[in-house]
Amino acid sequence: MAVLELTGVAKSYRAHLSLRKYWILRNLDLSIQEGEVFGFIGTNGAGKTTTIKLALGLIFPDSGSIRLFGDPAGNPELRRRIGFLPENPYFYDYLTGREFLDFHARLFGMKAADRRRRVGELLERVGLGNRGDRQLRLYSKGMLQRIGLAQALVNDPELVILDEPMSGLDPIGRREVRDIILDLKARGRTVFFSTHILSDTEMICDRVGILVRGGLKAVGRVEDLVRGEARFWEVTLAGVNGGEIPCGRVVSRGANQILVRVETQADLHRLLGELNGHGATLVSVTPARQSLEDLLVREVHRAGPARSGEVERDAL
């Protein structure tokens, strides 16, 4: 079942005192399935945040339909089943972490005892167990991101929407966010997150969607999107002793190892088959596959330069 479904969604903005429309999204179709981790990738200004805001009812589409759990989005009751972390979150800095989470738990009508237990659990889960009584103004960026994640999970949501959850985090912070996403997946939750940090995306997503200038250019499983695109292999050989290799190009030569780049699968087989004859031993074969980053760059180039009337703006 699709937990979030956008069909033919278009969204435009008008600049102040201007009749001109700026299209942010054009005819967007997107469907997020139950239990999957979906990475929504794109450059700044591609329309990722706009899509998320539309799904949450913070802004309204010009046309198209948005459904949450099969019902038209816009009914606040549906948000009982959703958790959301905005991009670069700013929270009430006069509250302590504990007060902040308690406030959000109250909005779900949780009883005092349940709130206390849940808030304690969440603080532990995001690694802020001993900092819950500190005011948010004293939190670092990473800690704010973590407390933001905690508020998104306060209602144990079925669908968790995260807008750039890894931006601005150090490698440890990113790893923690990644672990939380994987933990949510293990619990059968659906995670929809936008990002432009692609290495993490490849690792944790079931599916990704590539958004370029308001249009979905590719969507599917990571391995399907980048499959067949392994255009060369890097083969490390030992004991070649300066002899010729049957095919491929030597990229680097070490004391007793060489790195060879082979362009086709046939050449790879030939090279591996003739190793013995050259007295060489195989150390490693690494397929140099196209990464999501290559795919994104290719789609952006394919879309060409921004036409006038299109917006290139952060945090739309």
């Binding site: 903005y13 805001k53 949450l56 009812g57 913070l58 802004i59 309204f60 606040p76 009751e77 549906l78 948000r79 009982r80 959703i82 958790g83 959301f84 972390l85 905005p86 670069n88 979150p89 700013y90 929270f91 009430y92 006069y94 509250l95 007060e99 406030f103 959000h104 109250r106 909005l107 779900f108 009508g109 933001g148 508020q151 998104a152 209602n155 929407i161 739309l316």
Partner: protein, 255 residues
């Protein structure tokens, strides 16, 4: 619904009481009420009157300033700082958010007015005087604060804090001088212009309905019907303004 409105109201209250501006205004109010005591020493004969007059005026002005300066930022600041995103991604209706913000400021004003009134009565008690009429005057000032807060919240949904404070304070001043519009209407020969002035007279908030300061200071009693009318006026006008604020916010794009 009520629990969500209460949660937002309590959080707004907490924000206000952790805001230094509130304390600054409160300290100024208390200082002004105290200053009335000193001022009264300079006059002959009407010491009490000066204290009452000055005290009530201080409560009025500082109450209105608190309502305006906190009120105009209630909604717009949440949007500007993007704190509204996490809130409205929760199962709350936008109207609940607006009403919660309003409720929080009303609670703040209640405490604020109570502190100012207590100090005022303490100063008067030191002079050995008390007048029940003063409590009624303060009650009616509080009603005025409730209406001005509703107007500030409406502007907060529409515009920036700066513009909203100018608009709200202007309406407050105009609302105290509406009698002049009435007079203008009566003296205008053109029927169309007269109709316009009359319409404006009824449309704009009439804050003189809440103003019995002069009467009370002069020792005149306030008719219960005047209090009743003020309460009814507040209920109807305030509700209309808040419904307007909710409708504006309902359609607002939170970019």
């Amino acid at each position: 619904m009520l629990s969500r409105v209460t949660a937002i109201a309590l959080n707004t209250f907490r924000e206000a009481i952790r805001n230094r501006v509130l304390y600054l205004l409160l300290v100024f109010a208390v200082a002004m009420i105290t200053f009335a005591q000193i001022l009264s020493l300079l006059t002959v004969g009407s010491e009490e009157k000066i204290i009452k007059d000055f005290g009530l005026a201080s409560i009025d002005i500082f109450g209105v300033l608190t309502a305006v300066f906190i009120g105009v930022g209630l909604v717009s600041r949440e949007i500007e700082r993007r704190t509204v995103y996490t809130l409205l991604a929760k199962p709350i209706h936008r109207a609940e958010f607006v009403l919660g913000k309003y409720g929080g400021l009303v609670l703040t004003l209640l405490i604020n007015t109570a502190v100012m009134a207590l100090w005022f009565f303490l100063i008067l008690a030191l002079k050995g005087t008390f007048d029940a009429g003063l409590a009624i005057a303060i009650l009616m000032l509080f009603m005025e604060f409730l209406l001005i807060t509703a107007i500030a919240v409406l502007f907060s949904c529409l515009s920036t804090p700066m513009l909203s404070s100018v608009m709200t304070l202007s309406l407050w001043v105009i609302g105290h001088l509406l009698w002049s519009l009435d007079l203008l209407g009566a003296k205008t020969p053109s029927a169309a212009a007269r109709a316009l002035w009359r319409t404006l007279y009824y449309l704009l908030p009439n804050f003189s309905n809440f103003d019995v300061k002069g009467q009370v200071v002069q020792g005149l009693s306030v008719a219960p019907s005047a209090v009743g009318f003020a309460a009814l006026y507040l209920a109807l006008y305030g509700a209309a303004v808040l419904i307007g604020a909710c409708m504006v916010f309902q359609r607002k794009e939170l970019q």
